[in-house]
Symmetry: C2
Subunit: 340 residues, 2 copies
């Protein structure tokens, strides 16, 4: 049978689609971090003028999508698919953010892996000829996430050093069958991996096993070595999870120590911004990939990268019931257009 | 550009995949309804031997997938993708149900539209040659849903006549590139439609506008008439939503009154089972499609059908904040294999 599957978990796209544009909107704290010059829009106030945190997050998604479409010279009616999701219960940040776009919509839940899950599916759909344009998007908001997953903000709960800081941000990437820009050439779809971590203040450790699993699958499936890539970006493993990933991958025979960076470590200055182990949330890779990394690729900095967002698939109820935290990681290989 | 898109929202699959097997597991009440003889397994007790309702629902998904795989003679390692989601916050019924399968997983959130969202994407991925086998699955559980979306069971809240009863059930369909069985030939991906309904005890009315939108898009895109289909099955519009759908579609020029049925009206005996406007939940179309309709197709009852599940994309928090309820509907055309 004719298949584009290579190895166990990876597909090599027959018509690698182009990420013709992308845009990122971030909150105040993110706008004070090292990547401040990369983002398309920095909020002056994390409410974004809305009455609820949920509505603020929805507005960020709407804004990120609108900016990306404007930059690409496209209108909502040009799109065949929008693929998106977020961390809110029943993904309401996405649904209320995009409901007026009138674009065929496929809702995803991949927790913090959503940016690469949406980019994977968008790329597969466009490469297969199911349409010309797809938008891949996600968001997170510190305030909506804290209230839903942890404590009311007003409670002022303390955090251990392994805790991460949910990024207030949204990223949207526009995937097209034709155009110019970096191309998604391979998609490695992750499996759920649960190594029994139960500490919800240590998501990096909960997600690292899935990251190791997917990344080693990618290298094996594509028969490539880390040295063939200019960079490997993970989503939000933070300091703790990144250390585990790099160390354990070495044991698998893949040394990414010289080329790995984590969006959660890039978006904040860990020494000065009091974010403990780094940034997290769907919006972390969302804003760093769509706001920073893809722009650097367009500028010629990288020829070939791996982007892999990781997600923790629990909810507060089942964790209180004693369940451990399953993780997942989805990876894509993105290559700069030849000659650019 | 080469595209399989026909019209605005529909793709005609180049290699229509086969639904080679399917299985459904349902709860006690569903097992007392008119379709009792169709299901692969009926629970003796809705706890399914677990300590929490969340774990009971997870176990139903695991069981439905396991039964479907057994019937198809496949093992988890034969699968290229599993696409699933459910109603629980952060889709934990799915994640904990399938975490031991070790199958590349794409998490979806489509609320009660998940069965046809997962079947749509599974069919598109397999038709495109991204793999040989994909499982499309979903579930809902009356007890986990009541506690999360409405009131604790012990509270004994009263319901208005428009309220529906969340189905305890799970369905899994196995989509394959080769084999025998009904084939998914077209996929119509829905848009979010929000007509301003705010009554969470009237989901049928909230979802009907999306159903009208997607179904009329399907007929227009494929240039087909209702008379060309043996049946149109909706997911869980119930009595109220079904009436709106049939009536409003007539105004659009499509009369489905003779061929429409709703899984929420099929799974229960509305006169005797005290379910008010009918069944609802992802598991409603999940169990009725995978347990009943697909078996009837294999038995030769239908040659060509439309299956369309509808979802309401709110959560309780945003509804309390005054938001209306956006809906979505995803449709697939399923045709019996020629000569069967």
């Amino acid at each position: 049978m004719n298949t584009m599957k290579i190895g166990k978990q990876t597909v090599k796209l027959e018509n690698p689609p182009y990420i013709i544009q992308s845009a990122a909107v971030v909150g105040v704290k993110e706008g004070e971090g090292p990547l401040r010059d990369s983002f398309d829009k920095i909020l002056h106030d994390d409410t974004f003028g809305m009455d609820t945190w949920e509505a603020s997050e929805s507005k960020m998604q709407r804004e990120a999508a609108t900016l990306a479409m404007e930059k690409a010279g496209l209108m909502p009616e040009d799109f065949d698919y929008l693929l998106a999701g977020d961390l809110m219960n029943q993904c309401v940040a996405t649904h209320y953010g995009i409901r007026d776009f009138n674009i065929p919509f496929l809702g995803l839940y991949g927790a913090c892996s959503t940016m690469t899950e949406s980019l994977s599916l968008a790329s597969m759909l466009i490469s297969a000829g199911y349409g010309r344009y797809a938008a891949a998007m996600t968001s997170s908001h510190f305030c909506s996430a804290e209230k839903q997953f942890r404590y009311p903000l007003e409670y002022g709960g303390q955090r251990p050093p392994t805790a991460q800081w949910t990024v207030t941000g949204s990223g949207c990437a526009i995937v097209a069958a034709e155009g110019t820009g970096p191309r998604v050439t391979h998609v490695t779809t992750g499996k759920i991996v649960d190594m029994g971590v139960t500490d919800i203040n240590n998501m990096g450790s909960a997600m690292a096993p899935a990251a190791i699993d997917t990344l080693s699958a990618l290298f094996r499936d594509t028969k490539t070595e880390p040295s063939e890539y200019d960079a490997v970006f993970t989503g939000d493993l933070g300091k703790t999870g990144s250390e585990i990933l790099v160390e354990q991958l070495k044991a698998e025979g893949f040394d990414i120590s010289g080329i790995h960076n984590d969006c959660g470590l890039m978006i904040f200055n860990l020494d000065e911004q009091d974010v403990h182990a780094g940034g997290s949330g769907c919006g972390c890779m969302g804003s760093v990939l769509c706001g920073h990394i893809l722009k650097e690729m367009r500028g010629g900095k990288y020829k070939k990268i791996i982007a892999m967002a990781t997600g923790a698939l629990m909810n507060p109820t089942v964790v209180l019931q004693g369940e451990s935290i399953p993780g997942i990681a989805h990876a894509v290989i993105i290559e700069a257009q030849k000659g650019r």
